[in-house]
Subunit: 693 residues, 2 copies
Amino acid sequence: MKLQRSIPLLAVCALCLPLSQADEGMWLFNNPPLKVLKDKYKFEPSPAWLEHLRKSSVRFNNGGSGSFVSANGLVMTNHHVGADCLAKISSKEKDFVKIGFEAKGNGDEPKCVDLELNVLMTLDDVTERVTAAVKPGMDSAAAEKARRAAINNLEKESSDKTGLRSDVVTLYNGGQYHLYGYKKYTDVRLVFAPPKAIAFFGGDPDNFEYPRYDLDVCFFRVYEADKPVKIEHFLKWSEAGASEGELIFVSGHPGRTERLDTVAHLEYQRDRVNPDSLNLLRRLEVLLKGYADRSFENARRAEDDLFGVQNSRKARLGMLAGLQDPVIMDKKRAEEKALQAAVNKDPKLKAAYGDAWDQVAGSLKTLVKIREEYNLVERARAFNSDLYAIALRLVRMAEEGAKPNAERLREYSAAGMDSLKMQLFSEAPIYEDLETVKLADSLGMMVEVLGAENELVKKVLAGKSPRDRAAELIQGTKLKDVAVRKRLAEGGLEAINASTDPMIQLAKLVDPAGRRVRRTVEQQVDEPQRQAYAKIAKARFAVYGSTVYPDATFTLRLAFGEAKGYTEAGKKVPWSTTLGGTYAHAEMHGNKEPFELPKVWTERMGQVNLATPYNFVSTADIIGGNSGSPVVNRKGEVVGIIFDGNLQSLVLDYIYDDQESRAVSVHSAGIIEALRKIHQANRLVEELTGKNL
Amino acid sequence: MKLQRSIPLLAVCALCLPLSQADEGMWLFNNPPLKVLKDKYKFEPSPAWLEHLRKSSVRFNNGGSGSFVSANGLVMTNHHVGADCLAKISSKEKDFVKIGFEAKGNGDEPKCVDLELNVLMTLDDVTERVTAAVKPGMDSAAAEKARRAAINNLEKESSDKTGLRSDVVTLYNGGQYHLYGYKKYTDVRLVFAPPKAIAFFGGDPDNFEYPRYDLDVCFFRVYEADKPVKIEHFLKWSEAGASEGELIFVSGHPGRTERLDTVAHLEYQRDRVNPDSLNLLRRLEVLLKGYADRSFENARRAEDDLFGVQNSRKARLGMLAGLQDPVIMDKKRAEEKALQAAVNKDPKLKAAYGDAWDQVAGSLKTLVKIREEYNLVERARAFNSDLYAIALRLVRMAEEGAKPNAERLREYSAAGMDSLKMQLFSEAPIYEDLETVKLADSLGMMVEVLGAENELVKKVLAGKSPRDRAAELIQGTKLKDVAVRKRLAEGGLEAINASTDPMIQLAKLVDPAGRRVRRTVEQQVDEPQRQAYAKIAKARFAVYGSTVYPDATFTLRLAFGEAKGYTEAGKKVPWSTTLGGTYAHAEMHGNKEPFELPKVWTERMGQVNLATPYNFVSTADIIGGNSGSPVVNRKGEVVGIIFDGNLQSLVLDYIYDDQESRAVSVHSAGIIEALRKIHQANRLVEELTGKNL
């Protein structure tokens, strides 16, 4: 359940409904759910408890979560979050994804090529400064520009002052703006990874399913000045782990929810976004699978992409099924009607907020007309190639770098430049054959959608078929060479304009068209929506007056719940599985891939306490991006690690439910038992528990 | 390369270009390519030679070709054509697709549940009778009706008189109508099948590739009155088989080509048909793969469907790539312009045929508007379930059966009723879980495309989600029981109207909407196209005056060519592979599925003559539907059997090419060597060759 950043939705945030006493919510650390915790669980976390958990939590900028689990900078996350790094440091000869990895000592820990970890150190409410930038009477183009300038400047100011990575986060879709200061780690090294066969045991068939049997963990260590970092805040390990019915907390980075989209917006998700995303995901899945099936090396090269695509496909199917379920939509409609009725009853509320729903609907009508072009051109779905992405980034870095910071596109603002360059100059391998296959297919898709007679299409293809053009571009570009990228980046606009690299020239050709459609989206869709949703948020506050949490934004949140089973189609599903169940599950599937256990698991079965809890479910409110989040008990000890949600949890994007929806974790006792008895990773076990065998 | 009848294109036929001396053409047996054979190959087939080959050729009505290869009714086809029968007589306990099958004697040959074979006995030109039915001045609705009446009546008359299955075939899209009389065999029994692991060695990755190493053969026997049929015309076996450079013939049933579509029509294929088909195929592939991967039994149940979908997907990708290649489209444009210029130069031709191209383009504009509804509702893409297909057939059989034959929908005409009932009352297993998965997905697709607020959609879903509605329909219907179907069929309209079966009620609900959109397509698209293409055909005759072959229509055709390698990207690809190459190919892929050889192949490797030719390529002009076609030499002996085309051949749908396009066959020497030495199928080898070990 990895946050897929490659095919994101347009982010839309909104306030949440007045809450029942359910285990609902992805809470801000500076606005935690104190009341429900006290009322329902008789638990009152102290500020120190919260600060400790927050500073022990780690964001993986490739789309996941993690936590510090030792004073020496040891970080735990999921294997499927770490797989991106594993793949990038693997080769045909040495495939760490497949065989796993264990460092014998610090000197033996290989460095990830482009992994950035963030720890949230400071949170400041900057709502007033951002909001004040937008003057009354500004049209939405002017408003968008003013707001962007304020945000870019705030980040630069903070970054210069604190040295922290400084991000202004839009919460409640404009209801609030917070300035987050992150301690940034860019020297991240691999400590331990199990083989994928056990980390992702059951593969795509078992993904989003429960009961489960996965050792979905991976350990890294952060370094500074070539030494392991000494960490003040890290989580202690609980060897007993979670027990049934226990209150647990999840501290992680949920990527995106759309719980309070208007009904019109949900219909847009149902009718456009999800079906189109699914068509694209299926297309990529079939393409990558076809490529991967041709040889072992192909399979290795495409593995991480393919997992991401299959994972997203399964998630989106669940989301779409939720929106196609009249029960859910009727509930959403009833909620919207109730709020609208309350607003319309009060003339003041009506005057201030009454038009917000139509405003959202209007923005979507604009979006429908341009969304295909926007997706293909500006979001580069037509140019599915790392080398194209690099080329466009170089072109725009040169263009934006020549502008004052306030006027730059958000992702090229001064404060974010270091992180951007880290990605751009990554030594991650790029495979020409895979690049060609992906680019050819996406160029073909552009022809299908925009038409062969479209002017931009004709210019892009330059009289060639998509296959021939893709081959020509990939073979012709020199951007595989990081030194070439660095020279172009240093040379600025002049170097870009002088470049004869075919991929740079393609990016220059596409850039103006992308900017044009992006401007329309930002000014005629995003800005009106931001204003409309801010009204709806205020209306909700006015009518319900309750404490609320914002929709997820891939920033740090606190969730809570119980370790608890559920009933599915009349059948009880127990709260946890055991290590012993793993062997039975493999047996049931003939021990065939993806149910084939690593040799070391079958060989050492006799030494394992088979009754040890292995994977377990809880009612905590999580979503993609929470992968790798630590699960802690009242004492703040690690009792597990989130790695998935069950199929029923897929509607959590739109609505919370605790009947059958469950978060799925690896249990801390199961992790230690497997590391100790099967993988015999003594050094790691000792660091986690303080005890050797 | 199996003809996929489940997702056909709208059939469009056209005349072909004046031919060079290439090995081009899918020729009618009553209009064979005598001149080119004589000029290029110094070969003059006699009428008896042609009759013998024709009457030895067999059509598999599940979408393939075959031939008689013994006097005792032994029929050879591809394993992938026979797999449909194999799957239907298999069970969880005994999976003939996987383990293969060999009958020890006639009493041991199991009967296929719903396989019909046809042999073309008579061909009559009935163009005048069909054309005369359409009077001058009739609008296209009246013309369509009159033509349909004439055809239905002709078929009934012939069937009553001859007892043969009688089909009027539209050739040259209305340029000619031929009445085909088929000897029909419905008692078809399984004699021999190799395990799929060797029949489809290399699986989807190797499909449409060359070099290849597949034993893609399967043997059946036709029975009448419970005894093997004595056959006059059958093909003798050549143990030596084809040699390099030899002239060979292919007698089979190519399914569909669109070589002389107008440019507007090709653009429609490029922009609509192929992209949409691919989206659907990818959707089904991911759906079926997801289902199959959950257990071995699921994989077995979905296997034949999944193969068909993957096969079509790969074929369509090649077709679309062809149409997206400017070189091919420019060629097509130049050809069209040349013909139009010739027509426009002659006032008489211009008056008679000059408007044909615009007429085709106009019909496509109509089709674009209704094609989604037509595909979903009338072609039942929204109702992807065997049980729905059965229900609709029952409803329409009752309705159409109550009408005079002349007025019936084509597929319910009196002459075809027996074949229809054979399908309807098939005892082929229906798996409720798979039905539910497919139906839920297709209902979801209907919501996506037609919208949740569409009136028909709302009625179909009856307030439920696609998943819930699908489960309710599949669980509720009694149509799995063949006796129930028979009772409903016998009860006619009264029984249908009284039925409370939910699937029958769904079919009754959808039927009128389907008929409505079908009528529009038949009257406003098909009929104008038929008239326009008939004009273009006549124009072509007038301008070029040459002998031509019609586009493929899944009727018997004769193709020819040389056994001949080719050069790909500067590399020579030899004309044939060897049995020994199979072992090397398996080794190269780590002997892992789908490159895992059956045990018997590895065990008996030492006994095999590894230099025996195994698969080979030729320039013969083939397409999907030709699967299983016998390849014969000048003496009419079997030298191989077609089973695939290479990737370069996929454009043959639109344009012939013999540079790199090749048909791929299993070599008769390789077949016999494998049957004798590896599978030790002595009884079969003796029947084929007259010799025992």
